[in-house]
Amino acid sequence: MRPYSVQQAYSMTDERPSISILIAEDEKATGDLLANSLARADRQIKIVYNGLEAITALQSQPHDLLITDLMMPGADGMEVMKKAKELHPEIMIIIMTGYASLDTAIEAIHRGAYDYIRKPFRLDELEVSVQNACERILLLKENQALLKRIEELDSLRQTERPAQLSQPIFLYPSDIPPSAYYAQPQTGNDSLTHLERLSNLYEKGLISLDEFNLMKQKLFAQI
């Protein structure tokens, strides 16, 4: 079984996982243009025009990425960001502001913002930031799915008969063709590639050292 990059994994199916983006911008024209320019087939975009609407939207459903203005009526960007992190700790946040200062930039990053963009910005500049955030979100989603499957695999190993281990084992999200996941007897080369991939996830900070070690042990146990 070959490991897949995020793009490779999700390109195996027509139905790519969708990234949910919430845009909070009190300038209606700016918000509409942002939504228009960031629209892609795999992105679901919702726009709100003040801070309170943003908080309500975050309470009603989880979002993967929040792009928020800093100065807005209702609740300002910092309040929205704080609430977003409380409700969905893994949400990625990009702050945009025309009221830029080093202090606010530092505060935003300290509070967990992924990026901070100063107005007026070029659309290309924002797109790079959004694209990087989306890439990271997909990696996180994949990582979560991997961890979940490892846990399931672990419990399966402990509870089921050895004969059942030849059943398909899904290591990736359900939208990837099952044929890709049939657990094959691992060869040394496969394990090496898996190990490289795990190291890559660890180096990018997407898994902790403990998680890395746990998965590594499980990998070796399968050889």
Partner: protein, 227 residues
């Protein structure tokens, strides 16, 4: 530090300019909004190499917003014109509201109700002083609203017949205008943004010099302008 009378007078006369300087960050913020729209719209047009009427309208609307903002700033910069001249009061109030939206607390947190004069009325006055008076009334209202939730602000313009005059009232639901701040100057510097006692003195002196009348009630400031 003790200031000479001359220095005090200089600071007093230049109070509107000092307030303008304090609003600089907000003014930049308010310029950035329409500029961002123009920038993004042109970038999108450049990408698709075509333009439709909606995009043209969007560009024009935001260029008009930029022009208004710049005009407001230019008006405040023009302090050398000491000639009395006709001033359309509705325009003056609208420009001052646009300008004071650079105070982002006022822009985003205060609910505003504006009742302009039903018809265009004008008065003869020195523009910078008239602007300073209206602006100071707004600044005082903002300062008294600063620690209040919800914040309501209302301007009501009316014409009275006897005596013939134009009245502009500024209502707010925060701290009373008539209440003196019980703070020393150091404390005031930290807890208020605009110098309220200085603004009151400025209003009192400048309305007197212009021939206008200032009335101060707990929640209401009124400016009476002879017609």
């Amino acid at each position: 530090m003790n200031l000479t009378n001359e220095e005090c007078q200089y600071l007093f006369d230049n109070l509107p300019a000092q307030l303008t300087a304090m609003l600089l960050k907000g003014l930049v913020h308010n310029l950035n909004g329409p500029l961002q729209v123009v920038s993004m719209q042109t970038e999108l047009i450049d990408k698709i190499k075509s333009i439709n009427q909606q995009q043209i309208d969007n560009l024009q609307a935001n260029i008009t917003r930029l022009e208004k903002q710049i005009q407001c700033m230019a008006n405040h910069a023009d302090t050398n014109n000491t000639q009395a001249q006709p001033i359309i009061l509705n325009d003056l109030i609208e420009q001052e509201l646009t300008f004071w939206n650079a105070d982002l607390f006022f822009k985003h947190k205060v609910t505003k109700t504006i009742n302009m004069f039903q018809k265009q009325v004008f008065t003869i006055a020195q523009e910078a002083t008239a602007r300073g008076i209206i602006g100071s009334c707004i600044a005082l209202s903002i300062e008294n609203l600063r620690h209040k939730t919800p914040c309501n602000f209302e301007i009501t313009c009316s014409i009275t017949d006897n005596p013939a005059a134009y009245s502009i009232t500024f209502n707010q639901n925060g701290s009373p205008f008539t209440e003196e701040q019980k703070m020393d100057s150091a404390q005031q510097a930290f807890e208020t943004v605009y110098p309220t006692s200085l603004l009151k003195k400025y209003l009192s002196v400048k309305t007197g010099k212009t021939g206008w009348t200032l009335c101060m009630d707990p929640q209401k400031l009124s400016i009476i302008i002879p017609a």
